[in-house]
C-alpha cells in the first residue's frame, strides 16, 4: 500500500488516528471488486485442483483487506486487533474441531 497517502490526525490516549486518503480507499475498493470478479469467474471457468485453494485465498485476502484498511486495524491500537483476532481465532478453533468431530473433512 502506498504509505504516502496515509494521513495522521494526531495521536492521543494511545490511539493512532491515522488513515488513508479517500483515493487510497477507492483503490482498495477497486482491488476488492477485482478479486470478487475473479471469485465469480471460478464458477464459470474450470480451475481444476486450484479451485478450492484459490477461492479460500481470495476470501482471506478480501477479509484481511477490509479489516486492515476499512476497519483501520492496521493503523489502530494493537489492543483492538487482539480483541478481534482472538475472537476470530477462538471461533476458527472451536468450529474446525466441531467439524472434524463430525468427520466433515473426510467427506
Amino acid at each position: 500500500m502506498d504509505t504516502a497517502t496515509a494521513e495522521t490526525h494526531g495521536e492521543a490516549h494511545g490511539e493512532k488516528h491515522e488513515h488513508m486518503s479517500d483515493a487510497g480507499y477507492i483503490r482498495i475498493a477497486l482491488i476488492l471488486a477485482a478479486i470478487t470478479a475473479l471469485e465469480v469467474s471460478t464458477y464459470y471457468v474450470d480451475f481444476g485442483p486450484f479451485f478450492m485453494p484459490s477461492l479460500m485465498i481470495m476470501m482471506v485476502v478480501k477479509f484481511v483487506m477490509v479489516v486492515s484498511y476499512f476497519m483501520h486495524l492496521k493503523f489502530d491500537n494493537k489492543v483492538f486487533s487482539f480483541l478481534f483476532y482472538t475472537g476470530l481465532a477462538l471461533a476458527l478453533f472451536v468450529y474446525i474441531v466441531a467439524l472434524a468431530t463430525f468427520k466433515f473433512f473426510l467427506q
Binding site: E15, Y25, A33, V40, L55, K62, A91, Y95
Partner: protein, 203 residues
C-alpha cells in the same frame, strides 16, 4: 496515580476512555465484533455440515443464482467504501458529506436486503421452505441472521444521519460514526465468507 490523572484529564474531551487510554466505546465494539465471530462461526459450520443433507426439496446447486448473488455481494462490498468515506468526512467535521455517504451506505444496504428478500421469495416458490430439509433450515438461518444484521446496520446508519442533522451527537461525533462503520464493515466481512463458502463452493 500521575498516569491516572493524565488519562482522566483529556479523556473528558473525547468521551469515556479506559485506564489504557483507549476509548471504552471502541473497546466494547471490538469485543462485541470478536464475540460475533463465534455466533457466525457456529452458523456457518452448521451450514457446512448440513448443506448436503437434502432429503426433500431442491439441491443447493439447483436454486442458487450466482450472477444475482454476485451483484448483491458487489453492492455490499461497495457500501463498505461509502461507509469509510463517511468516516473520513466525519473526521474532517464535514457534516454534509458525512450524512451523504451514510445515506448512500444505507441505500446500498437496503438494496442488498431487497435482493435477499427477492432471493428468499424465489427459493420458497421453488419448494425450498424453512423446514424442507436440513440444508434449507441451516441456509435460511445463516443468511437470515446476516440479513437481520444488515437491517440493524441500515437502522443504525439512518439513526446516525438523523442525530447528526439535529446536532444531537453527545461526545465525539467522528467516533460515533466510526463505531457504526465498524459494525457495518463486520457485516460485510461476514458476507465475504458466506458468499465463498455457501454460494461459490458446491455442496
Amino acid at each position: 496515580m500521575a498516569d491516572t490523572l493524565h488519562a482522566a484529564g483529556p479523556a473528558s474531551d473525547h468521551g469515556h476512555h479506559s485506564a489504557t487510554g483507549l476509548s471504552n466505546n471502541k473497546l466494547a465494539m471490538w469485543l462485541f465484533l470478536g464475540s460475533e465471530c463465534l455466533l457466525f462461526g457456529g452458523l456457518i459450520s452448521t451450514y457446512m455440515l448440513y448443506r448436503g443433507r437434502v432429503s426433500d426439496g431442491p439441491h443447493p446447486s439447483q436454486v442458487y443464482d450466482i450472477p444475482f448473488t454476485s451483484v448483491s455481494s458487489f453492492v455490499l462490498l461497495m457500501s463498505s467504501l461509502t461507509m469509510v468515506l463517511a468516516v473520513t468526512a466525519a473526521q474532517r467535521n464535514d457534516d454534509s458529506k458525512t450524512n451523504l455517504w451514510l445515506t448512500v451506505t444505507a441505500l446500498l444496504g437496503a438494496t442488498f436486503i431487497g435482493g435477499q428478500v427477492y432471493e428468499f421469495t424465489t427459493f420458497y416458490r421453488e419448494g425450498m421452505g424453512f423446514t424442507t430439509s436440513l440444508f434449507t433450515s441451516s441456509f435460511y438461518t445463516l443468511t437470515g441472521f446476516h440479513g437481520v444484521h444488515v437491517s440493524v446496520g441500515v437502522i443504525l446508519l439512518l439513526a446516525t444521519v438523523g442525530i447528526i442533522k439535529r446536532n444531537k451527537v453527545t461526545g465525539n461525533k467522528a467516533e460515533s460514526v466510526e463505531l457504526v462503520g465498524l459494525y457495518w464493515h463486520f457485516v460485510d466481512i461476514v458476507w465475504i465468507v458466506i458468499f465463498t463458502l455457501v454460494y461459490l463452493i458446491p455442496a
